[in-house]
Subunit: 146 residues, 8 copies
C-alpha cells in the first residue's frame, strides 16, 4: 500500500524537502505532491499562459485559476493532507486547502509553531492531529504503517 | 422564500450590524446567523463549560470545540455564506469557514479591501463573488430577490 | 405539499409568464423562480455592483459571478428544473443549468421545438422528460399532483 | 502519477490530435479519452445496435443513449475535463458535459475563441480556467506536473 | 414533527386506502404520497402529453418518463418508503423504487405475503424491516412516534 | 430557528428528562427526539409487530429492525446528536448512533463521566465536544443561540 | 484502461458465458464479475456458513446476507452494470441491483426480450440503454472503446 | 481483483493472525490492515509524538488523534470491514469503526460470540452479516471470490 500526501503551506522555506528526506530515510511508501514551489512562477502563471492582464488584481485572478486547478487535481489524488503554518505571511490559501481537505474527508495533519495556537485553534480542533515540527508529522505518517 | 446567511469573519468591528441594518432597510427576507461576537466569551467558552484547563493551548482547544460546534450547526442551516476579511488578525478560521462553505456547496461571497487581493487570490477565485464593501455584498444579496 | 420550480432558459420571450399563468389557472401549488429576466441588467450586474471593468471580457466575468450566485441559491431551493431552448442564441448557460440540475438530482424537464431534437439529443436523453411546448410542461407538472 | 483527461467538444476538427501530439512532445503522463469522433457513427450508433427506429427523433434518442453511456464511463475514469467550444454548431452536449464535470468535482478547462466570451460567460466563471487555444490548455496541464 | 411516506407498489388493490385510514384512525402525523393510482392513466400519460407514439414500446417509454418524474419528485420529499409486493404482476418498478429508496438513505419497509419470502430475500435483507400486512406496517410507523 | 436534537444513549435513567427540563427552563427553541425509552417495549417490539420468533437471537433481530427504523427516521430529522454513556451496560448502540451521526455530518456532543475517558477516547476525539454532565451539554446547546 | 462490468440477473441460463466469450473474441479489456451462479449454493450459503436456521424464511435471510455482501463488494468495484431480465422467475433482486447501480452512478445496460417492455418500462427509462440481446450489449460495451 | 479488508476490534488476542493465516491458506487475494496492535504503543502514541501531556485525559486525547488518523487512512483504502467483539473491554471504538464503515458504504461483517447477541442487536441488524467465529468470516470472504 502506497499513500499520496499533499503538502499544503508556504513555499518560502524548505520544509517540504525536510519531510521528503525523512520519509525516504524511513523508507515510507509515500509519494508527496504539492503546490508550485517557485514563488515567482506561482504568481506569474496566469500571465505566462494567458498573456498580460489589466492590472494586479486581474493578474492574481488569472494566476490563482491555474494554481487552484493544480491543487484540485493533486489533492483529489491524495490520501492525506499536511498543512504547515509558519510565522510569516497571511497563508489563507493554506487554511483554505486544509479546510477543503477536511470537507472532502481527507485526513489532515496541521504543523504549526506552538505560538500560533490561538489563531489556529478552530482549525486545529477540526484537524485529525496538530503537531509542531516536521519530525512529529513524519512520526505520525510512520505510525500509519507500523 | 426566506434565506439564511452565515456571516463569517472577524468579531472586532460592527460590520455585521451594518449588513443587518441595510438588509432590513431593503426589506430583504433574510435571517442572519454567525459566530459568537463577544470576543472574550468566544475565547473563554471552553473553560466556562468545562472548567479550568491546564494551560493556554488546552483552553483554546476546549473553546474551539464549542465554537466549531456552533458554526457547524448554524452553517448547515444557511443558504449562503459571507466571509469578511479585514486588515488585522490572522483570520484563519474565516478562511476555514469560507472553504468549508464552498466544499459543502454553500454559495460564498468574500468581502475584502482591495489591498488584500494578493493573499486572498486563491480563495477569491473559488468564491462565487468577491466584493470590497458591505454595500456591495448587500447589492449581491438583493440581486437574488430582484 | 408545495414545490419550487426553477425556470432556466432564454430571457427574451415571455414563456415564464405563460407557465406561471397556466399554473395559477390550474391552482398548482408551485412557486417559480429563475434568472434575472431583465437582459440588460443581467449583462450589467457586474459593473453595477463592482464598478467599471477593464473591457468586455472582464465585464462579463463580473456579471456572471453574480448571475451564477443567484442561480446557485435559487436552484438549490428548487425541487424540479424546467429548461427551455429556443431557436435563437447560444443558450449554453441553459444547457449548463440543465446539466447541473441533473447532476444534483433535481428532476429536469426540457422544452424545445421538435426541430432542435438533433443538437439536444444527448441532453434530452438524460432529462427526465422532453416536451415541445409550455402547455405540455404544465401537464407534466400537473400530473405530479393528480 | 498519471492523469486521465476527457476531451469534450466538437468532433469536426482535429483539435484532439493537436492536444495529444503536444502532450506527447512534452512527455506528459496523460491518457486522453473522449467521445466517438466519427461523426456519422456517433449519429448512427443507435440504429447500428438496435436496428431501424421510427423516425429521426427516435433515431437520435437511440444514438444518444449509447453516446451518453460512453461519456459516463469515460468521464468517471477522468481526473480532469477539457471542453472546447468552436464557432459552429450548437454544442449543447459540450456544455452539458462541462457542467456535469463541474458538478461531479472534475476540474474543468474551457477552450474558446475570445469572441465567444459573452455566451459562455456563466460557464467560464464556473470553470477552473478558461483559455483560448489548445497550446494554452497544454500549458495548464503541464503546470500540474511542474 | 410530521413525516411524509411514499407508498410504492401495485396499483390494482386498495392497500393505500387501508394504510391511510388506519393512520388517520391513530392520528399519526403522516402525509402519504405515491404513484398515479389510475392504471390506465399511468399507462397513457405519455401519449396524453406528447401525442401518439409509434408503437407500444415508444408509448411505454413516453409514459414512464412522466411516471418516473412524478416518483422522483415525490420520493425526494419523503422521509420513509413503504413498498408492497403482491402475488400478481412483475412489480419491477416496485423493486426499483425500493432499491432507489435504500440507495438514497430513505428508510424502507417491505410488505409482502410470507409466500414471497424466497424471491424477495435479497431485498428484504436490505430493507429496514419486512412485514406481511398493512396492519404491521402501521404499527411500525406508529412506533416511530410512541 | 428551531433545532431538533437526538438524544442517544441508555434508557435506564432519567437523563433525557433532565435535559428537556433545563432546555425548557432556558426557553431554548429545541425539539428533542430519541429512542423508545420503555426498555421492555424496545426489546419486545419485534415480536409485538411480527409475532413470536424462534428464539432469543431472532427476537432481537426483529426488535432491532424496528428500533433502527425509528432511529434512522428521527436522526435524519435532527440537527445535532447528544450521546450519553453511563457506567453500566455495553451501550454499543449508543456508540453506533454517535458514529453514524458523525459520518452523516450531524454535530455530536458526548456526555460521559470522566472515569470513562479511556475507553471512549477515540470517539471523544471525533466528537465535536465531550462533556461530563447534562448541565454542560445544555450550556453547549445554549451557546449556539447566544 | 480496463473496465470491470457486473453482470446482474438470472443464474439459470448461460448468458454470462456468452457475454464473456464474445468480449474475449473482440479482445475487449473488460473483467466480468457477478453473483454466485451455482443456484443451490446461492440458496444454501447462509446455512453453509451459519448452520441450520429455524425455517425457510430464516434460511433465506441468512443466505441473502452473504449474497448481498458479495454483490456490494463486487458492484462497488465495477464501472458498469448489465442487468438481464428473462421471461421466468420474479427477478426482484435483478431489479434491485439495477436500481442500486443507477443510484450509485454506475452506468446501466438492461437486456430484456421485447415482450417484457411493459413491466420494465420505468426501469428501462432510467437505464442508460436497453437492448434485447447479449450481442447488442457487447456492441454497446465495444463502442466505449472504439 | 484484490481486496483490502480492515480488521477492527480488540487488540488483546491473536484473532487477526488467525484470519490472515486462514486467508493465506486459501490463497485469497486479500490484504489486511487494521489498528496498531501493540496495546501500550496505541495508548502512548500521543505522548510519543507530542511529549508529555497534562494528565490522563489529555494523554488519551493525544493518543486517539493519531489512532483515529491511522484508522481513517486505512479504512478509506479498504473494501470491506470486519469488526470483532469479544467478551471483555468496552470496545466502543470497535462499534464506532463498524458504524463509520456502514455510514461510508463499506460492507461490514460482525464477529461476536452468540452470548453477546443482545447488546449488539442493533449493530448486527445494520451489518451485512453477523457470524460467531473467524472461520465463518473467512468463509464469507471466500464466498466473494467463488
Amino acid at each position: 500500500m502506497r499513500l499520496t500526501v499533499y503538502l499544503a503551506g508556504e513555499i518560502h522555506s524548505s520544509w517540504r524537502d525536510e519531510i521528503k528526506k525523512k520519509s525516504l530515510a524511513l523508507d515510507l511508501p509515500i509519494d508527496f505532491v504539492g503546490p508550485m514551489e517557485d514563488h515567482d512562477r506561482s504568481d506569474n502563471i496566469g500571465e505566462e499562459i494567458l498573456g498580460e492582464q489589466p492590472g494586479a488584481v486581474f493578474k492574481d485572478a488569472a494566476a490563482s485559476s491555474f494554481n487552484n486547478l493544480r491543487t484540485s487535481v493533486l489533492m483529489e489524488k491524495s490520501d492525506l493532507v499536511i498543512a504547515l503554518f509558519g510565522e510569516q505571511y497571511k497563508q489563507w490559501n493554506t487554511a483554505m486547502d486544509a479546510s477543503a481537505a477536511l470537507a472532502s474527508h481527507k485526513p489532515l495533519i496541521v504543523i504549526r509553531p506552538e505560538k500560533l495556537h490561538h489563531p489556529l485553534k478552530e482549525l486545529s480542533q477540526k484537524a485529525n492531529a496538530t503537531v509542531e515540527t516536521c519530525d512529529q508529522a513524519i512520526k505520525a505518517l510512520s505510525y500509519i504503517f507500523d
